[in-house]
């Protein structure tokens, strides 16, 4: 881990980065922000850890807990909302047996995420399955995709 963090530090120095760019690099590498990484940077740069955490919890892109292996993102933009994305979301929580106030399944295989709008409103409702954007989603189509992933796991 030390090695990776050292590399991120190097990038930070080279590009005159800031706390956000460090957090973005950590998130990209680990998939979330491990506490140790923050304390490491806090010591190296002599910036209080609270500033890192304050920033990390402000932006929705950063996660303090590890996320599932498969990430299903449901767009909750206006166009997707009027075309029934709430239904898709509720069904996903039921199907993957994740409590409504959680994000990740207990076996860490799935994480359900909401995104405010990815700007593909012309093909609403939109979901993103492991980075692949799928438009004009229906309950049927979505359940088939979920089954495919489940079978793979």
């Amino acid at each position: 881990m030390e090695e990776i963090l050292q590399k991120i530090l190097g990038e930070y120095r080279k590009n005159e980065g800031n706390i956000i760019s460090i957090l973005q690099d950590i998130e990209k590498t680990f998939g979330f922000i491990p506490e140790e990484s923050v304390t490491w940077f806090s010591k190296k740069l002599d910036i209080p850890a609270s500033r890192f955490f304050g920033t990390a919890t402000f932006y929705s892109q950063f996660h303090l807990k590890p996320r599932g292996k498969n990430i299903i993102t449901v767009c909750r933009g206006t166009a997707c909302h009027v075309k029934g994305s709430e239904k898709l979301l509720n069904r996903l929580f039921l199907e993957l047996d994740i409590p409504l106030d959680e994000e990740t399944s207990t076996d860490s295989k799935f994480t359900i995420e909401k995104v405010n709008c990815i700007g593909a409103c012309g093909i609403a409702p939109v979901t993103i399955l492991n980075k692949e954007v799928l438009g004009k989603m229906t309950l049927d189509k979505l359940m088939k995709e979920v089954k495919k992933i489940k079978a793979r796991e």
């Binding site: 402000f58 909750r76 709008c117 012309g122």
Partner: protein, 592 residues
């Protein structure tokens, strides 16, 4: 064979999601496959282009033979072979796949300025942009125009900020020019956070060089040498294409030191947002670039005086910058003539929701909302009836049928209780519940409120609680008055635009659809049958064939019945997800 053949495939986010990458690949493979390559390869090429606008008919493909253009809709990889043999080799277009009259009415009332290159040129190739007069305006500005001269042209063009507030761009630049400082900044706001808006994404993905060129001209006009483009992290393709465009510019000498040999320097960087709606607000955006929490600061002075790192900063929206090269090339008078007296030019809107032709459109200011919904948009899909047009996202409002003849410009939309905003337009039909819509927006602003000022942090939370009460059948007399009172206070006392406009969706729906709110409160009914707690699903025994489709699909195991006999829903177990309602082919399931 002396044919000049060009195939253009849409590769905006919408196109890619509909499978355009595979379509483009198949075209390229077909062209280079044996036999065809020998006779065609030099004059036949397939290329990616940016968003074509008409996302509802993606993947859209243009086949241009000797300048003669045919457009195909809903193209799939397995259709490529037929298009290739019949049209490209034998010259007979495949009639059944060509776009129909919807495609033409969609484009008829549009005037493309900002979008003139989107969907026409390869966004990842600087030469393609230069071939359509790209960087000519920047060169003129840097080598033969004075800063004040540029400012005057922009002022005379009557261009107003396309981010939504509509501040005159020329005035902003003049302020930036007047303030002396050794370091000044130009920032492009690409943090398009409004749900239901995708204009800026399409421009950044489809014509990134136009944005950069606009910024170079602004840098010259305000004598700034440092720039940032702030892009949402949710737009990975836009980030990638802008990054490529910036690298190409540095290589070509359009960015960096001594641009066009004019002794003018301008350095430009991308800053990726981290997912916070409030960062679309100028002061919050600057704090975010500084690496801090994106919280707005009180506007004691203008950003043009003290902005990023307390230096003078000119910040404009993506679309505003993309207009600039055209204004410099064609003149202020040409641009201002396109619009109305109070605001010049065109505006890009993203039209979505329950309308037939969804997509990206550009119209001269002054067209009516009716023209947008019924002519360009082709009316409501599925023969349903129009209910409201939501403009301006969570800061805007809902416009009812009787106001559809309102002309689009900053003032008239404000008068109708909405705002121009960045340009999202979502059409709602009879199946949309207005209380639910207002609640949807308030949930959004409430969770995106940065929490700094009390009216926004606590006020929106209280308003949301009232709306939740109403939509779950627990509303009481006096709730509507309380909503209005809270709304007015939040509007008057919040620190930034987010809070000041947050009550708009509630206030505008209360103004035009009050009866619907009253139905929820007094009769505990949701007329549009949307609010979950106010509806029940049941099966019409006379219509049910007992096919069992609903029973198999029900996630709560709430449907019971024997095959070929009418089924029943156990309302105790029913989670009201509506899956059975959608699954029943015989329309035997009702919600009331």
């Amino acid at each position: 064979m002396d044919k000049d053949i060009l195939i253009k495939v849409c590769t905006g986010t919408g196109g890619v999601a509909s499978g355009s990458k595979e379509v483009l690949k198949t075209f390229k493979e077909t062209i280079s496959s044996a036999g065809i390559a020998a006779s065609f390869s030099e004059k036949c090429s397939a290329q990616r282009v940016g968003c074509r606008g008409f996302c509802a008919q993606d993947v859209l493909v243009d086949v241009i033979i000797n300048g003669d253009k045919t457009t195909y809709k809903h193209v799939k990889p397995d259709m490529v072979a037929k298009i290739f043999t019949e049209h490209i080799l034998n010259g007979i277009p495949v009639a059944e796949w060509i776009v129909d009259k919807d495609y033409h009415t969609f484009h008829q009332k549009q005037t493309k300025v900002v979008l003139s290159h989107c969907g026409e040129i390869d966004p990842e190739d600087i030469h393609a942009y230069q071939a359509v007069d790209g960087y000519k305006a920047a060169k003129m500005a840097l080598t033969s125009m004075g800063s004040q001269e540029i400012v005057d042209i922009v002022k005379n063009s009557n261009l107003r900020g396309r981010g939504g507030a509509g501040f005159p761009t020329g005035l902003k630049w003049e302020l930036g020019l007047r303030i002396a400082s050794d370091i000044k900044y130009v920032i492009c706001n690409g943090d398009e956070g409004d749900p239901g808006a995708f204009m800026d994404r399409s421009v950044m993905e489809g014509d990134p060089h136009a944005v950069i060129e606009g910024m170079i001209i602004c840098a010259k006009a305000t004598e700034s040498h440092h720039g940032y483009i702030y892009v949402r992290a949710e737009y990975p393709l836009a980030v990638k294409r802008l990054q490529m465009a910036i690298e190409q510019c540095y290589e070509a000498g359009f960015l960096g030191k001594n641009i066009f040999g004019s002794n003018f320097d301008f350095a430009l960087k991308i800053f990726q947002g981290a997912g916070a709606f409030v960062c679309g607000e100028a002061t919050a955006l600057m704090r975010s670039i500084e690496g801090k929490r994106g919280m707005p600061t009180p506007k004691l002075w203008r950003s043009a005086e003290k902005g990023l790192w307390d230096r003078p900063t000119v910040l404009n929206n993506v679309e505003t910058f993309a207009n600039i090269p055209m204004i410099i090339l064609h003149g202020a008078a040409w641009y201002s003539r396109l619009g109305t007296e109070r605001s010049g030019g065109t505006k890009v809107f993203s039209l979505s929701g329950k309308v037939k032709n969804t997509g990206l459109i550009e119209v001269p200011l002054g067209v009516t909302l009716r023209e947008i919904v019924y002519e360009i948009g082709g009316g409501i899909e599925g023969g349903k009836s129009f209910k409201a047009l939501q403009t301006g996202g969570p800061s805007g409002g809902c416009i009812p049928e009787e106001l559809l003849d309102t002309e689009v410009d900053y003032e008239s939309l404000a008068q109708a209780g909405s705002i121009m905003g960045s340009g999202g337009m979502v059409v709602l039909d009879e199946t949309s519940c207005m209380v639910n819509t207002a609640k949807f927006f308030l949930e959004f602003t409430q969770s995106e409120s940065c929490g700094k000022c009390t009216p926004c942090r606590i006020g929106t939370k209280r308003m949301l609680e009232i709306l939740e009460r109403i939509t779950t059948g627990k509303g009481k007399e006096g709730d509507l008055e309380l909503l209005e009172e809270l709304g007015h206070y939040i509007r008057a006392t919040s620190l930034c635009g987010l809070g000041m406009t947050a009550p708009n969706p509630v206030l505008s729906t209360l103004r035009y659809f009050r009866a619907e709110y009253e139905q929820h409160i007094r009769n505990k009914k949701c007329p549009a049958a949307v609010c979950r707690d106010l509806i029940t699903y049941s099966i019409l025994e006379a219509v049910c064939t007992g096919c069992g489709a609903c029973k198999r699909i029900c996630p709560a195991d709430a449907i019971r019945g024997v095959r070929k006999k009418p089924h029943r829903i156990n309302t105790e177990l029913c989670v009201k997800c509506g899956t059975c309602f959608d699954a029943c082919k015989f329309k035997a399931i009702t919600k009331s």
